[in-house]
């Protein structure tokens, strides 16, 4: 199929439908209400289910129910709404159900703003709701990549019986970019008869629950989760390396929208001879700790920088990844302000000076 020009939010909805997700429950919130609008129009055309819930609390509990009943299901929201979904995220993870949730992050805290932010990183990757659980978190950087990640999210959720969270921001959700829906094929849904509440015909009953009155059993389950997350780390940790193959002195770490700006900055800096590249995490959980550590142990890498639209949330993971072997330079804009390529270039140039690196070849 040829590429079509599509707004990010609508592409997310279409990608889900093409992935065989025929049920969507959601509550409007800027800057992603268009996903629900799109689904309300498209799902009836394909025999699917659209419900506008009374709140994000309810929308997320509806997907808990639908996921338990064994169908592909998705909800989308933005930051304040995602806070309200924390309860259901914890239950979905604890009940080991596959479900896909998209958080189009906006400026915060509080009601914040509606413009792009990465301030929900901790909430996305460190759990977010109560208890020890993780979502598999994907952070695409373009509309096309968002489409591909949505399509991959369903099989991943089914592989791990775990919620998959996609995070983006208003830049990606509101922007129109060319997309090719045929670039990825979604795997068919796995068999759900062993656990889903489809009616106990010709089989023992299935029960979806997450209560362990015996602490030993609850602990055992927590150990199982650790194994699940280890498997995710081993098999489904994704990242992109940009300009890292000619022994750069500096590695910048950025994801999503900021990675696009960093990419532009690196293109410019390279013209001036700066040896700089980027590691762009695509999964934020599992995070590419091992690869970052490896890079920090090469003889050519002398510095790391992080560019992020938060106070330094991913920065903590990068520092941990390299065990603070070098000080990590940090630049941020927040509250809905997207850094300009110029200010990122200035910051990175300054970092070369501060860290005593060669920088531009004069």
């Amino acid at each position: 199929m040829p590429k079509i020009l599509m707004k990010g939010a609508e592409a997310i909805g279409e990608a889900a439908i093409r992935a065989g997700c025929l049920s969507y429950f959601g509550y409007p919130i800027t800057p992603q209400s268009e996903v629900g609008e799109y689904m309300s129009r498209r799902l009836p055309e394909v025999g699917g289910v659209f419900v506008q819930a009374e709140s994000e609390v309810a929308a997320s509990q509806m997907i808990y129910g639908a996921a338990g009943a064994g169908v592909r299901v998705m909800t989308t929201t933005s930051s304040p709404g995602f806070s309200l979904m924390a309860e259901a995220m914890s239950y979905i993870a604890a009940s080991e159900l596959p479900a896909v949730v998209v958080n189009i992050v906006r400026g915060g805290p509080g009601l914040g703003g509606i413009l792009p932010s990465q301030g929900d990183y901790f909430q996305a990757v460190k759990g977010g709701g109560h208890g020890d659980y993780r979502c598999l978190v994907l952070a695409p950087a373009t509309v096309q990549e968002f489409v591909e990640c949505v399509m991959k999210a369903f099989p991943l959720a089914e592989k791990y019986l775990n919620p998959v969270l996609l995070i983006g921001d208003g830049m990606i959700a509101q922007m129109m970019e060319p997309v090719d829906f045929d670039a990825v094929k979604t795997e068919p849904q796995r068999d759900v008869e062993a656990w889903a509440t489809t009616g106990c015909k010709d089989r023992p009953r299935n029960v979806v629950e997450c209560l362990w009155l015996d602490p030993k059993l609850c602990e055992d389950f927590n150990f199982e989760l650790i194994e699940k997350y280890k498997k995710m780390t081993a098999e489904d940790c994704y990242f992109e390396e940009y300009e890292l193959d000619d022994q750069p002195e500096m590695v910048v770490v950025a994801y999503g929208t900021t990675s696009r700006i960093v990419r532009t900055a690196i293109e410019e800096l390279r013209k001036d001879g700066y040896k700089i590249g980027m590691l762009r995490p695509i999964t934020l959980f599992p995070f590419p700790f091992a690869r970052l550590r490896e890079l920090s142990e090469t003889s050519h890498v002398k510095a790391f920088s992080v560019v992020e639209m938060s106070q330094g949330q991913m920065l903590e993971d990068v520092r941990w990844a390299i065990r603070d072997k070098f000080p990590v330079g940090f630049f941020c804009r927040m509250g809905g302000i997207v850094p300009s390529p110029e200010e990122v270039i200035d910051f990175l140039k300054q970092e070369f000076v501060t860290r005593g690196l060669k920088g531009a070849v004069s």
Binding site: F25, Q61, M62, G65, G68, V208, L211
Partner: protein
């Protein structure tokens, strides 16, 4: 030998954990009997609440899902919408449904979800040790209203059946009670009708069952039935509040 009483097929062999005299067991059994009688065990999904009946999924031999506190109507919505051929019911206490889950129940009813709600009103938070519920009677002593519910600060008890019957979406709303065998028989009839409406795809159906919690009321089961009759019945009148045929 003729069998005149046995465990409903739709119940497991697990022993329930309820206190002596508790009416949760009676209500569970009625639901299971109706599932048997309607021949729908293989297409029924029950949604468990958070409350004393949180473990109902151990007792019902059908597919079951749990819900977070108060969210059962939303979970039921998710199941029913994606699998409309199933019979989906929630089983909820008064704290669960009328307090933390007020939003979910009102909107599920108002959307006209084709689900059945079994609402156990025992005028108290049983599971957490007898705190005041939105349904606690004026003057009723609980662990968080030690001097009795003060309606000046806590308002009057919420009458859920009346409240839901004000919604304009067609539904079946009935209040019944479990304090005498006669009332139990009536309750079962109401429940059967509620499930039948769902099976016919007619409407949302809601059965409020006045229940006792001897443990947290601090009186015997016999005294509890009497207290229900004398204190709750006058405030919570029994009967059908709404049928889908109503104009």
């Amino acid at each position: 030998m003729k069998t005149i009483f046995e465990r409903p097929q739709s119940m497991t062999k697990a022993e329930t954990h309820y206190c002596p005299g508790c009416t949760h067991g009676v209500a569970h059994r009625m639901v299971a009997e109706i599932v048997d009688e309607l021949g729908i065990r293989e297409k029924t999904v029950g949604i468990a609440p958070v409350g004393c009946s949180v473990l109902i999924y151990r007792y019902m031999d059908t597919d079951m899902q749990s819900a977070a506190h108060g969210r059962a109507p939303a979970v039921a919505t998710g199941v029913k919408r994606v699998r409309p051929e199933l019979c989906v019911y929630t089983y909820q206490g008064d704290g669960d449904l009328a307090s933390i889950g007020m939003g979910e129940i009102v909107h599920a009813a108002n959307r006209g979800e084709k689900i059945t709600v079994v609402f156990i009103n025992n005028a108290v938070y049983g599971m957490t040790g007898g705190q005041m519920a939105p349904t606690t009677m004026p003057g009723q002593k609980t662990t968080t209203s030690p001097k009795g519910r003060d309606v000046n600060w806590c308002g009057m008890p919420i009458r859920m059946s009346e409240l839901l019957s004000t919604l304009r979406t067609p539904s079946f709303v009935v209040r019944s009670s479990l304090h005498t065998p006669h009332h139990i028989i009536q309750s079962k009839q109401a429940l059967r009708r509620a499930f039948q409406y769902q099976l016919a795809g007619t409407c949302f159906s809601f059965v409020e069952l006045l229940s006792i919690c001897p443990t947290n009321w601090g009186i015997t089961p016999v005294q509890s039935n009497k207290w229900l009759e004398e204190t709750m019945l006058p405030y919570y009148p029994l009967g059908i509040f709404k049928t889908p045929e109503d104009k």
